[in-house]
């Protein structure tokens, strides 16, 4: 990401359109032509930038990205358990009150432990 960003358009704090530049003068020139404002480029994924056109600021909200990343990790982790304990089997055990032992119980318990850690 280059040092300066021309925030060309944003809606409700979310970024809609931008262009990055090495120098502030280049970014100023872009804004002159396409509108918006210039600020220093925040770090992080643009999806998690918070834009304020009034104060002409763009900040990176790491907390929001952390939540999204946690959910991605959790989704991948619970998806991995489908190999040994599919959701339909989990529901069947829960709903029918089946008594399970051995490897089936170990897989069931592992899946329940991951499910309990689902990010909010």
């Amino acid at each position: 990401m280059k040092a300066f960003v021309a925030i060309v358009k944003s809606t409700g704090g979310k970024l809609d359109k931008y262009e990055t530049f090495d120098t502030e003068a280049e970014a100023d020139g872009h804004v002159l032509k396409y509108g918006g404002f210039v600020t220093t480029s925040p770090p992080g994924n643009t999806e998690y930038w918070v834009i304020d056109p009034v104060t002409k600021t763009a900040i990176y909200d790491e907390d929001i990205q952390d939540v999204a990343r946690s959910m991605q990790n959790w989704t991948a982790e619970i998806g991995d358990t489908d190999r040994t304990m599919k959701r339909v089997m989990e529901d069947l055990i829960d709903d029918a009150g089946l008594v399970i032992t051995g490897r089936t119980k170990a897989n069931y318990d592992a899946k329940k432990a991951i499910r309990a850690r689902k990010p909010q």
């Binding site: 359109k17 931008y18 262009e19 396409y34 994924n45 990343r69 991948a76 489908d82």
Partner: protein, 217 residues
Amino acid sequence: MSTLKANAVTGSTTNNDLALTGNGTGVVKIGDGAIKFPDADGTANQMMTTNGSAQLAFVAQPTSGFTLGTEVDTTSGTDALFSSIPSGTTMIVIMFEGVSLTANTALDLTLGDSGGLETSGYVGHETQFENGTGPVQNESTAEFLMGIAASANTIDGMCILTLKDSTNFTWSCSFSAKMSANQSAIASGTKSLSAELTQVNLGGGTFDAGSINIMYQ
């Protein structure tokens, strides 16, 4: 106006050209269709076309086939930007080889015009398939998601963008790639830009391996 009637006209001096010129702004017209020749030369390697109304003109030759871009190294940095995509482009193929991101991050694709890269209005869906597990699905309106790449994964494959509507600058996207030894991803969607596409950017996290290139026509 006087008319010369003859079955052949030949230059009078050996090895001299035969010149035909109009008068003032007038041009040379030839044949029963009175086809008008341009009065000025074109530039090197241009070709001649008609406007369908008996006027010939010099124009650039159509480019044949795809133009291969300059490969972008993705062993570091957060963006692989391909800018200066020429006007009139209707198809772009993005090619990934061994592309890796440092964290469990979604590789994403954004499109842009001369005003900048656009980060809203995407209609898309991405699905990953892993041997022995259920599919994992993701959606975003802020970009085309190309798949969640675990840090150990490398992405090998391609994404095809085609111009579906030149009035609204609407592009269709189709992506497929290998994500790991037992995982593949597919994604598709559409995105309308504010103006003609001039740039595409791959990002989403920090790159630590591989390379990306595009070709377009």
